[in-house]
Amino acid sequence: MKTGILALQGSFQEHLESLKLIERDFILIRTVDDLEEVGSIILPGGESTSMIKIQENNDLFNHLKIKILTGIPTLGTCAGLILLAKNSILGKSTLNILDCDIERNGYGRQNQSFEGKVQFNNFNDNYCFIRAPKITSVGSGVKVIAKMEDEIVGVQSNNIVGLTFHPELNNEQNYLNWLDNFVMKGLNVGAL
C-alpha cells in the first residue's frame, strides 16, 4: 500500500520529499480514484479555504473521510490539521473527524510567523509556524503529542495526528523516524 498525499495545493512536494527519504511509495491524491491503493494519508500545509473549494469539484473529501475512518494512519500539518478538526470554514464543514477546537491564524498574520522550539514525541527541534492555527481545546480521548513550552501544538486521536507546525520543512532524522513508525508501519496507531 502507498502513502497518499493530498495534492490539491500547498506543501505536498515537501511531504513527498519526506517519503522519498524514508524510501516509501507514495501517490498524489487529486481525485477519488487516487484513494484506491492508499494505506496511509498525509494532509499538507497550505490554504485550507482553497483546498476545501478545490475538492468540491469532485466531492473528494467525503471519500477521503470514509477512507480515514477505516483507521489508516493519517497525518495533517497546519492546514491539514484544520481540515481534520471539528471545524467550519466559510460556512462549509471540513473533514470533521478530530475532536479539538482550532483557531485559524492563531498567532496573527505572516509577520507573526516564527520558528519555535517544539517538544515532539521524545525529541525536540525548531519548527516553522506559518500563519499557524492554535489548538484551543482538546476532546476526551485526544492525546497531546507535541508542545511548545506550555502550548499544545500537536494531538493524536487513534489513527489521526494533527500538528500546527511544519515538520516537512525540516525533514530531520527524528521526524523521519517518527513518520516511518507512524504513517508507514502503523506503529502507535490507536495504541498510545
Binding site: Q9, G46, T49, A79, N111, F114, E115, C128, F129
Partner: protein, 294 residues
C-alpha cells in the same frame, strides 16, 4: 523561544502557496469573489494592470484604506505591491501587516538602479524576473519568492512563457556546468555565486517560482504549470472577463489539475468572454513593463 520572520519562515510561507492561484483585486467585493473561488491569496491594488496600461500616469502603492478593507474582509493571505526601490512603501506595507510584498514592475519604478534590500523587512517579498540572473539578484537581496514578469495587463501569455523557458534554460546550464565554470557563469548572469550554489544543491531555484503576466484562461494557467511554475498569479484576466467568479474557479481547478486534459476540457466550458488581449508587438518599447527592473 520564538524567532519571528526568519528567511526559512518567509520562504516556507511561499511554499504553502504552491499549486495555488493569487488574484489581483481592487476592493473588498472582488476579494470576496476571489476567496470564494479558491484563491490562495489576493493582491490588493488600486487599479489592475490593464487599467494602469490604459490610463497611464504614475502608478503607486495602493491606498491604505483599500488594503485594510481587503485585509479585514478575507481570511486568506493578502499581498500588496510596492514600487521598485521604494523601501518606504515597503516599510508602510510591513507596518500595515500585509502578508507578502510584491516589489512590482507594474507600478512606476522609484529607483532606476536599485531594488529594495529585503532582508531587513519582516514581511516576505516576491519579485518578478525575466531570466535566471535577475531571479538570483532578487534572491540575493532577500526575495522569498520569484515570479515571471510576463507582460502584465495584456492577456497575452507569450512573455511569461519566454521568461519561464529562459529561467529553466539557465537552471539547466547551472546544473550541467563544471565546478570550474561556476564563477564565470555568475559573472555572465550578474548573479551572486552563492545563489548559483544553492541551485546546484537543490536542483532548482532556492525559492518558489510562480507564473505571472498575461494569464487569462485555464489553459494559460495549465501551460505555465506544465512549464514548471509552482503556481499562478492572475491580474487583469479575471475581473476584466465576462464572468469573474466562473473564470476564477476554472483557473483554480486548472492550476491543480494542470496535467489532466479531461479536467481542463470540463473547466474550459461556459466561461463567457475572456479579457480582450493585446499583441506584444503592438506595444511601444516604453510601454513594456517587463523592461522595468535591473
Amino acid at each position: 523561544m520564538k524567532i519571528e520572520s526568519t528567511f526559512k519562515v518567509k520562504k516556507g510561507f511561499a511554499e504553502m502557496l504552491k499549486g495555488g492561484v493569487i488574484m489581483d483585486v481592487v476592493n473588498a467585493e472582488q476579494a470576496k469573489i476571489a476567496e470564494k473561488s479558491g484563491a490562495v491569496a489576493v493582491m490588493a491594488l488600486e487599479r489592475i494592470p490593464a487599467d494602469i496600461r490604459a490610463e497611464g500616469g504614475v502608478s503607486r502603492m495602493s491606498s491604505v484604506e483599500v488594503i485594510q478593507e481587503v485585509m479585514n474582509t478575507v481570511s486568506i493571505p493578502v499581498m500588496a505591491k510596492a514600487r521598485i526601490g521604494h523601501f518606504v512603501e515597503a516599510q508602510i506595507l510591513e507596518e500595515l501587516g500585509i502578508d507578502f510584498i510584491d516589489e512590482s514592475e507594474v507600478l512606476t519604478p522609484a529607483d532606476e538602479v536599485n531594488h529594495i534590500s529585503k532582508h531587513e523587512i519582516k514581511t516576505p517579498f516576491v519579485n518578478g524576473a525575466t531570466d535566471i540572473g535577475e531571479a538570483c539578484r532578487r534572491i540575493g537581496e532577500g526575495a522569498a519568492m520569484i515570479r515571471t514578469k510576463g507582460e502584465a495587463g495584456t492577456g497575452n501569455v507569450i512573455e511569461a512563457v519566454r521568461h519561464m523557458r529562459s529561467m529553466t534554460k539557465g537552471i539547466n546550464e547551472v546544473l550541467s556546468a563544471d565546478e570550474n565554470e561556476l564563477m564565470a557563469l555568475a559573472k555572465n548572469y550578474g548573479a551572486p555565486v552563492t545563489v548559483l550554489n544553492s541551485i546546484r544543491e537543490s536542483g532548482r531555484l532556492p525559492v518558489v517560482n510562480f507564473a505571472a503576466g498575461g494569464i487569462a484562461t485555464p489553459a494559460d494557467a495549465a501551460l505555465m504549470m506544465q512549464l514548471g511554475c509552482d503556481g499562478v498569479f492572475v491580474g487583469s484576466g479575471i475581473f476584466k472577463s465576462g464572468d469573474p467568479l466562473e473564470r476564477a474557479e476554472a483557473i483554480v481547478i486548472a492550476t491543480t489539475n494542470y496535467d489532466n486534459p479531461a479536467k481542463l476540457v470540463e473547466v474550459s466550458k461556459n466561461l463567457g468572454e475572456p479579457m480582450v488581449g493585446i499583441n506584444i508587438d503592438d506595444l511601444h518599447e516604453s510601454e513594456k513593463l517587463a523592461k522595468r527592473g535591473w
